[in-house]
Amino acid sequence: MATYIARRLFQGLVVILAVSMICFFIFRYMGDPVVTMAGRYATFQEREEVRRSLGLDKPIHVQYARFLWNAAHGNFGKSYVSRISALGLILERFPATFELATTALCMAFCIGVGLGVVVALKPYAARNRLIMAGSLGGISIPTFLTGILLIMVFAVYLGILPPFGRGETVQVGFWRTGFLTLDGIKHVILPAFTLAMYQLAVLLRLTRAGMREVLTEEYIKTAWAKGLPPRKVIFKHALRNVMIPVVTITGLQFGELIAYAIVTETIFQWPGMGNLLLTSMYESDRPIVVTYVMLTALIIVTLNIIVDILYALINPKIRYG
């Protein structure tokens, strides 16, 4: 097990290094940072000055080492637009994205798995066929369209929920939360549901398929025959076995969640990291883009390693040398 964890950590490190190398080349070769920093009308001497101060006169491997060293210390340079530390700017947006994503994930998980179980028990009942048809709709509507339609219905026509922003927030230590005010909670409903929609439908279908397979197994028949109450058979015997792939997929689809968070934040003008990324892309604000990519890579790789290790611990069938 220890060797497995060590190997997994090493592989994670390789991925992070590869991403950092790509980021470095984006940084270095997409447009000339000297022109960006010194301004278009700088003289030759001024440009040389900037080039030296940025270390761009050194050989390429020295520059890369320097980039890595700075990155490891959380120093990704300053935003070209606002002249504030790029990492600080992104971290300031982190709570908003985190609250949106966790609310969405909880919604998707509770509703998706719950409905999946209900549908699997009586797959041919009229009501459950309707739920399945709905889930087909859920995986066939792209996130951005869900968001816009929800805004159209609930904000423009009915006018009961706010169409954009995060509403009133409260500062708790370093964390700015929207969960503590009624206004903040009202603001999170539409974006969270938008972000949850696709994953909800996927989880529903996954749970249903898994339950249908498991329910035909011998040990479930034994459990029924023993006279166990339905609640125990369904949740303890059947669902627990279905949950392993469901949880794994949820963990591994984190990249997808981040991508759709960018879309959702853009539509609802949610002041999170994704919204910042898209604006920075339009403005060619490279330090922000690079920081975002590195940070996302770090989060995804860490999460993957955790999921893999947990998986190896839970599942006795898997042995890693």
Binding site: F144, E213, I262, L278
Partner: protein, 281 residues
């Protein structure tokens, strides 16, 4: 094919493909021919509403492009991107999966690690970052950006399938008669291991079409002088508060119809190819 939903799915897909091919003949107007555009006709509502005008069945957008015509041309882009990705990512993924599954060893280990990495970053995020950094440059670049991570779906499925087929008696027999690697791979493994790929193709087509719309909606997909359903919705979004719903509802409905059609077909294919699920007579 007795399943009604499979028939509905295939019919929808067929109609869309036909409309995409025949676009120049059936669209009332070519919305990207600047000579035929007239700004006088901008923001016209659908024909059955007050102020609706003759050639514009479903109304026009803010540049005077007919919504119906733009939808037909937009679906063309969707299908080109969809099939383009399936073709390129599919071919590459199948080859990679075949080689990894057959040879195993370091090639397999390397490929699977690469696949895991791309999978966890997700096709959506990779394509978005690629296009966001390099900017919108046309349909072909969109296809390539999506392919960068998308081939993994095919490679994984193919590898798994090859690992299973490899153990079959007829493969042993072919080996015993002295068949070379190339013959084994192409004549025996490829045709027998490929059926699970069909489901991946169908699901992927739906996913890629939604992804193209999403990328174009965000402004990093196809350039603004080319038709795209996602971009139509992005334009319509500016007019939600003005109550001009037709600029969002119609392209949105077309997109959802197309994707539902493909997904219905994929569902049928999956159940048909899965012997584990009991079907009701």
């Amino acid at each position: 094919m007795h399943d009604p939903s499979a028939i509905v799915g295939s019919v929808i897909l067929f109609v869309f493909i036909l409309a995409a091919i025949l676009a120049p003949w059936i669209a009332p107007q070519n919305p990207y021919d600047l000579e035929k555009l007239s700004l006088d006709n901008f923001l016209t509502p659908p024909i059955w509403m007050e102020d609706g005008e003759a050639p514009y069945l479903l109304g026009t957008d803010d540049q005077g492009r007919g919504i119906l015509s733009t939808i037909i041309y937009g679906c063309r882009t969707s299908l080109i991107v969809g099939f383009g990705v399936v073709l390129i990512a599919g071919t590459f993924g199948i080859i990679m999966g075949l080689l990894a599954g057959y040879y195993g060893g370091w090639l397999d280990a390397l490929m699977m690690r690469l696949a895991d990495t791309f999978f966890s970053f997700s096709t959506t995020l990779m394509a978005f970052l690629m296009l966001g950094i390099f900017g919108p440059r046309g349909v072909f670049i969109v296809i390539i950006a999506i392919c960068i991570a998308d081939w993994v779906r095919y490679a994984r499925t193919m590898r798994g399938s090859v690992l299973e087929v490899k153990e079959e008696a007829y493969i042993m027999a072919a080996k015993a008669t002295g068949a070379g690697d190339l013959r084994l791979l192409l004549r025996h493994l490829l045709p027998n291991a490929i059926p699970p790929i069909f489901v991946v193709v169908a699901v992927d087509l739906a996913v890629v079409i939604m992804l193209e719309a999403t990328l174009s909606f965000l402004g990093v997909g196809v350039p603004i002088n080319e038709p795209s359903l996602g971009m139509m919705i992005a334009i319509g979004r500016n007019y939600i508060y003005a109550g001009m719903w037709w600029m969002i509802v119609f392209p949105g409905a077309a997109l959802v119809f197309l994707v539902v059609g493909i997904n219905l077909f994929a569902d049928w294919l999956r159940e048909e190819l899965n012997p584990k699920i009991e079907r009701r007579a």
